[in-house]
Subunit: 275 residues, 2 copies
Amino acid sequence: MSRPSFQDQLKSRWHAGNSLVCVGLDPDPERFPEQFDQNNSGITAFCKAIVDATAQFACTFKPQIAHFAARGAESALEEIIDHIHVNHPGIPVILDAKRGDIGSTAQHYAAEAFERYDADAVTVNPFLGRDSVQPFLDVKDRGVIILCRTSNPGGAELQARDIDGQPMYLNLAARIANEWNEHGNCALVVGATWPEELAQVRNTVGDMPLLVPGVGAQGGSAKDVVTSGQNADGSGLMINSSRGILYASGDSDFASAAATAARDLRDEINLHRNR
Amino acid sequence: MSRPSFQDQLKSRWHAGNSLVCVGLDPDPERFPEQFDQNNSGITAFCKAIVDATAQFACTFKPQIAHFAARGAESALEEIIDHIHVNHPGIPVILDAKRGDIGSTAQHYAAEAFERYDADAVTVNPFLGRDSVQPFLDVKDRGVIILCRTSNPGGAELQARDIDGQPMYLNLAARIANEWNEHGNCALVVGATWPEELAQVRNTVGDMPLLVPGVGAQGGSAKDVVTSGQNADGSGLMINSSRGILYASGDSDFASAAATAARDLRDEINLHRNR
């Protein structure tokens, strides 16, 4: 509990760690190499091996909670996050949970993310408005990463609708930057599949960190994301890859293949960073 | 797994069961009578006692998952839902989870709700668009209860913004009724705190079931909800009360007090139902 704040850890990883890569932990036991059991201990062992292989190339780790919850593997998730804190201190953990509920319930979700799982940051859904996010915002040293413009094909259905003459995602980004971010602990999710919209969001929110899913399997380009979304100092982005790293090989060389995939993504990103 | 569909169970409870009351299970161990331990077995025992005391007055039970997840009490939640299916067959269980994520992850959340917890219905968040809800919609016999106009003070911040000349919640309600509801398994969350908006939603979605939180502790009136939201046959609503029932008494008479509170709410609602 005496770790630096999410934002401070992130800045250190961006600059001293020289990486904008977020390694997403989405364990699908059917895709594990055969040396792993398809149960909770297999999930734990596989994810720990991925973490250890990729840590030097990562700015953050992002376990996706549904992959654990669907199987009753909460204890595996606890163990993996603890492993990261103990063995790779300074690399912050984002719990990808996309929670959203009214205030009295949101307090319980904040406790789930920040106390039970001891995550450094959590993803949340803004559909219920600021009061539903406030219990997360009140935890000043942890990050609150709010959905803004998601990477999926249907993301535009609500998020790109016109509100007061601008798309909702920009209206929301401005409101978060100007009003919700009192403690400087906000960040936004903006998909790699919409680089022009990523650039608009960057222009709206100053130096706020952006979590960018959708590179690789979903079709987004790392170059486009960096050139559209980085800050003047070549930071400001957490560019996520999950399946492209986790399942780079399905054989016994999975760990070295994951490390290579993470390193290659880091290097490709770094080619385009402002220096 | 051979239960009737969510919609069929609900209709039976509305008419033969004569109740529109949804009993919300939001366990807060600090508020338990002193006979219960403040741990997982206490949560299980308290919730089972509430279920048994109120079942005859309920159309549905709605456990709120954050209250379990914050404490690592997933096994208690599993046990409580199983208890309802075994001891009170015909009363459907709504898992209040408000999940929302891109399709490949949403499949895992659907598995969490419908396989792991074996819920009859689940609440979901529409912010990511239809493709994010599709894995839930595809499970034809289970209910998908989509956030539309929530009961909290900040609910209007996004949900009531103008889209194409109408508030977003109405635009969304129409789209769900006309496009998303191909299998007839959709329902909507509309807060009791906005009866005029509830009436607008009812006029938009035909006979679609509406889950209505916000009566009691949040200030909504049961009479206003029934007169604004019911169908021509006096059904169509799941009017939720959580704290008003669970904590009607903090002493050893908690179960009879909960039963009285649920019966009183049912009776107050039934006074205003079309017959």
